[in-house]
Symmetry: D2
Subunit: 293 residues, 4 copies
């Protein structure tokens, strides 16, 4: 396929590389320069702006950090909406809020373009290995047209229906369930520590039995070791996601008490100076609220 690609951050680069290596014709653009060389070396062409990325492309992928960046790339004058030809597809692979998705969806529809949400599950290493999970929502024909693209980068797709906001909801909810698990681990550890039991006993019990999966193995260890300075995902970024999931709840009239708790622990952690530590640091905030350390 002929593919445009906007957003070459930690996730965007390995995804773009996979597309190139699978033989697709890829034009890339990044708003801040300097990350393009390796992809050009791998076979991509560099575009000077968003409009140039769109020229003659049937699909343009965005992998952007937040709603502001996506909205800017998509909707400003000369952006995707203005530059894509009728029938072309915008595939948004970042983690975005439902309101931004709905707004961009409406704009593309009005311009007779097609918009597909395809947020990905997995870390940069999974992207490099082509092992991402991809949650896809959009017009069925557009999703089908993107199948070769998804095959090149993912292990599996999940069909989240025809409304792009639905894929965002799934992705945000997945992160949120992880946050709840971290919060629960933090509460459990604080409880047993104040009953004079070492945290790693709780860690063993949890991960030996019901919770023998990546989420608990990873985060129970980080929390037991208080290894918050090795940052997979910072508290500040996690707050952004927590705010997005609460906004998704507000839009659909869904109270999410677990998300409130998560958000409050993140706010407390950031207020105490832990904003750039790994979001598992909410367990330290729980410890603080319990009079520990």
């Amino acid at each position: 396929m002929d593919i445009g690609f906007v957003g070459l951050g930690r996730m965007g680069r390995p995804i773009a590389r996979r597309l190139i290596e699978a033989g697709h014709d890829v034009v890339v653009f990044n708003r801040t320069p300097g990350r393009i060389d390796e992809l050009v070396f791998a076979g991509a062409r560099a575009a000077d702006d968003v409009a140039a990325v769109c020229r003659g492309r049937s699909v343009v992928v965005t992998m952007l950090a937040d709603d502001a960046a996506l909205t800017d790339v998509a909707l400003r004058p000369g952006g995707l909406r203005d530059s894509l030809s009728a029938g072309a597809i915008h595939v948004a692979m970042g983690t975005h809020g439902v309101a931004a998705m709905s707004r961009i969806d409406a704009a593309h529809r009005e311009a007779s373009q097609r918009f597909v949400a395809a947020p990905v599950l997995g870390r940069p290493e999974a992207a490099e290995a082509g092992q991402l999970g991809i949650v896809v929502a959009g017009p069925p024909d557009a999703s089908e047209d993107c199948a070769p693209l998804f095959e090149a980068i993912g292990r599996r797709t999940f069909d989240a229906g025809t409304r792009p906001a639905g894929a965002s909801a799934i992705k945000l909810a997945n992160n949120f369930v992880l946050g709840c698990a971290i919060e629960a681990i933090g509460e459990a550890f604080a409880l047993v520590r104040k009953h004079d039991v070492a945290a790693n006993v709780m860690q063993d019990v949890l991960t030996d039995g019901l919770f023998g999966c990546v989420a608990y193995r990873t985060y129970a260890r980080i929390i037991a070791d208080e290894a918050y300075d090795h940052v997979g995902f910072s508290a500040t970024l996690a707050l952004k996601d927590a705010t997005l999931v609460l906004a998704a709840g507000e839009a659909a009239r869904v109270p999410l008490p677990g998300a409130n708790t998560l958000r409050d622990r993140l706010l407390g952690a950031i207020a105490h100076g832990d904003g750039e530590r790994d979001w598992a640091v909410i367990a330290r905030e729980q410890a603080r609220a319990s009079g520990l350390g």
Copy 2:
């Protein structure tokens, strides 16, 4: 070993049977009669009361449903405290509150007896197969003396230190972490459903990736299928555990916001008539609060 055993319910019977089959000399007693025959047939002797169970025993195991039953068996006139000889061990394998454990521990110490908390992880089938996890806390010599007993029934022990209440805290926290996972699944499902995505898409996403473990596989399926009438653990019993974990938090001055949310959903579910359904029914309560169904 010569073992007394009090409490022959769904968990107590298979555990007692394992002890008999391992060659231990077991005397059994149940407060409500009628469940003893199969164990007598397997080789146990039946006692007429708690005092008779204690006679000549170096270890007496209790596997009782709640704190009231345990306190009654241990502390009433003619109970374990009055009947065990000095140095004998009371092993409490039920799920109990930290206050009850501390009170019973003090009573046994005063009577020069030894008290070991050994709550178990696993369902009746695991008990039958000798595959329980056992969280052990008590005087180190007493825990060691019980090693043959634990070997007969468990797959693994976890050392939770010397204070029996610590083992209770671990066990309650483990259940609580599970409750938080169920609550999070319920919130996630309500969110995506109100964004027009079927619950089973969320189920697939969760259990395919980060959460590929028993807890999430089991409960995401129950909730997606709304299979609340197949009851593994009722909402009413779960409320008892939630109250115990909150009391453990109160005793140690640990706020547990996740436990508050769990307890409130359980109360709401019970208020709506779902008390005898599986505790995963809190997801229905979440749906209700979201205006679904």
Copy 3:
């Protein structure tokens, strides 16, 4: 009336004195001695134990600190249940849990006695001035028989129906609403302080307008001045009440999210060493959670 009176603490003494001064024939007893002299001087007779207080009395009032004390006085051998004559009335004026009230009510009924709950609203100064509010629940004839007693000590009675637990629920709920107001003030102050506005501006706004009443005037001032060492009601006692209101909610299947928040702030305050400060110190705990101070 001929009245027995048990419990001569900070509230009990002024209430008993009002009864004596109103011309009632009063016999008093306190479990810890030494507080009786002033009442004997005022005209009361001193009894040696609960049984002696009950002798020949048609009404016995209890004003006790907690459920354990009340249950002990009422239900132990030789207590009120054993000593009151048939038809006599036990009036419980303390703040008690709904479960204790229901249990004591049942015991008195079984002994053909009458039980009236009459928790009071107001502080010791109001008791001295005969200006208490009294929430009354019990058998209508018993409540009527107590009218002269209530007239001597109170400004007003509130009819809370025929079930004693109902009066407890009202009293606990009243305290709880106050706790929620304190919590809200604490959150509001933390918010404006972190937006660089002094707390006393918020205090002025609140108490000038919608909230020009004792609750807000009193607590907004305490919190703005951080005057937590002048203790009207300690955080530790407030935790007891918060636990009772949550138990009342659990008994009736009522989730009380505001009570969860209140309880968690109290636990945090106590964990941080503020347990014996005024319960308004939960505002300091809120400040702490916000990274202030």
Copy 4:
């Protein structure tokens, strides 16, 4: 003074009229036409657009419904920022979020204009009577210059410092404290009702004593009478304010657990179809969660 006035809704009209009646020279503009006649009849001049309102004015007041309207009026091409002369003052009297205030403040500073936040406390009747409370924050000289304006419409000003966002925080926090009071009343009523006591007993107890102020008298009555169809402030509008107070908390890193509870009850009420009822309807949502009615 020569005053421009934008926003002639339920609050804007009586405020503008007070200014005219106090002898100020007032030019008015409303984005939707038709509400201007009565003010012109009272002595105002009508402007055709925002730019015309600004012409020759030293002060322009805005009283707009939300952040979107304010941002549009202030920042779009031809808006206040573009049209006010250097040194002129924009006084924003609506209830706005802290982020919008900071953004508009920065824009006016850049244009050498002065920005004063002056959100008002009170309902339309208070505005008509010139009895509003006014929370003022901005450059001290600008606030002073506005004194005659504030005197014409208010009973009292509150000095919230020099940052406009601070006045917003005060106003939002005041509404939030009221929401918490309503929530607490709703929880208390649900609790006593499920203990078989009529809600109006609780109402009497609350408002007779600690809570004898407008907030509790008003809302306890609405809730006891379930008079939610007489709408002072709708649940949907209250949700907007709850979201703004949470955003103010997020901006300043302040967890607000009471605001979470309030927001969730509002969401639940709206999900159940009560969005256009008075926000006291959150008490009905609490009742629903308790299995009542």
